[in-house]
Symmetry: C2
Subunit: 160 residues, 2 copies
DNA sequence: CTTCGTGCAAAAACTTTGCAAATTG
DNA sequence: CAATTTGCAAAGTTTTTGCACGAAG
């Protein structure tokens, strides 16, 4: 059994159980598998992706796509997952448990560098405050060409 | 006739015509109205919003929703509009011709406030430079609860 | 005139919902 | 046990597509 002694994961499950308890909801096998899968694969999932991955990794669990949707909505409402939309692909879900990070993304090769900057975060909080917002999270992605790709060209479907 | 001597708008149209010409496409009345509406209202539109607004402002044009979708996709592929996708509200489109700005988004009602911050931009450039990236653009979205939704206590369906 | 674009309606894709049976607390 | 959850299928939504006619170049 993998991940048996994973404190971080255990903590995540506890947090989930707490959300459920506070809302009179139940901790089911399906909800556990979904959270576990989000944790183990640490990816950005479309509901469909998650559904297929779970089908593959837990063949006997037979989770319906409706349950995936219901659980992702629940996790989103309780801020346990965040959503990002990368271009045309629609909304993708990822666990919100990791320490916050931003992304520097190469438009050519797709490589990603994660970074964190306290000054920017402070400024963001200030801006939110000035607008009366209670800030819950943010997304910051810087797009460009990485050092490796600076000699290459990229193609466009539609020419400008 | 409003907007008759608007150089900025004229430039936008020229840019659009260039994209069309470069791709062997045609400059139609419908495409013009869509671009004009995006320009005049400077909002974040769902396809449906745009459709209804155009129906209201250009009753005789009778543009179909399919044309809205097709044109928005075309504009997106040619980088003339950008999109934001959030929550149940789906993907919103806005013209990309305005000076760069970032977004403060209410997770509850989906309302969007634009802002711009030179300090953050400077810091972003610095980070890119430190990593050897040539920066082309960025996306920064701050998510939270807007003053109005805080007041109405609508902000949490699920308790943590 | 030739090619592309459009509206319409139908189809596809995506998401939610009603329900009876199963599971959880 | 009572209450919630589930899978399924059906019902909503949203977005795309096929087609015949109209418009643009």
């Amino acid at each position: 059994m993998p991940f048996l002694e994973n404190i971080e994961y255990d903590h995540l499950i506890e947090e989930f159980k707490m959300v459920l308890k506070n809302n009179g909801l139940k901790f089911t096998k399906q909800r556990e598998i979904i959270l576990q899968t989000l944790y183990n694969f640490q990816e950005h999932f479309l509901p469909e992706d998650l559904y297929l991955l779970i089908k593959e990794n837990n063949p006997k669990s037979n989770i319906g796509i409706a349950t995936i949707y219901r659980t992702l909505n629940l996790l989103e409402e309780s801020d346990m997952v965040t959503t990002i939309s990368f271009g045309k692909n629609g909304k993708k879900y990822e666990l919100a448990n990791k320490p916050h990070h931003d992304h520097l993304i190469c438009k050519n090769c797709g490589s990603i560098i994660e970074f964190e900057d306290r000054d920017i975060e402070r400024k963001q909080n200030k801006i939110a405050k000035e607008n009366g917002f209670i800030l819950t999270n943010h997304v910051m992605q810087l797009y460009g060409i990485c050092p490796n790709c600076q000699k290459n060209n990229l193609n466009k479907k539609v020419k400008n």
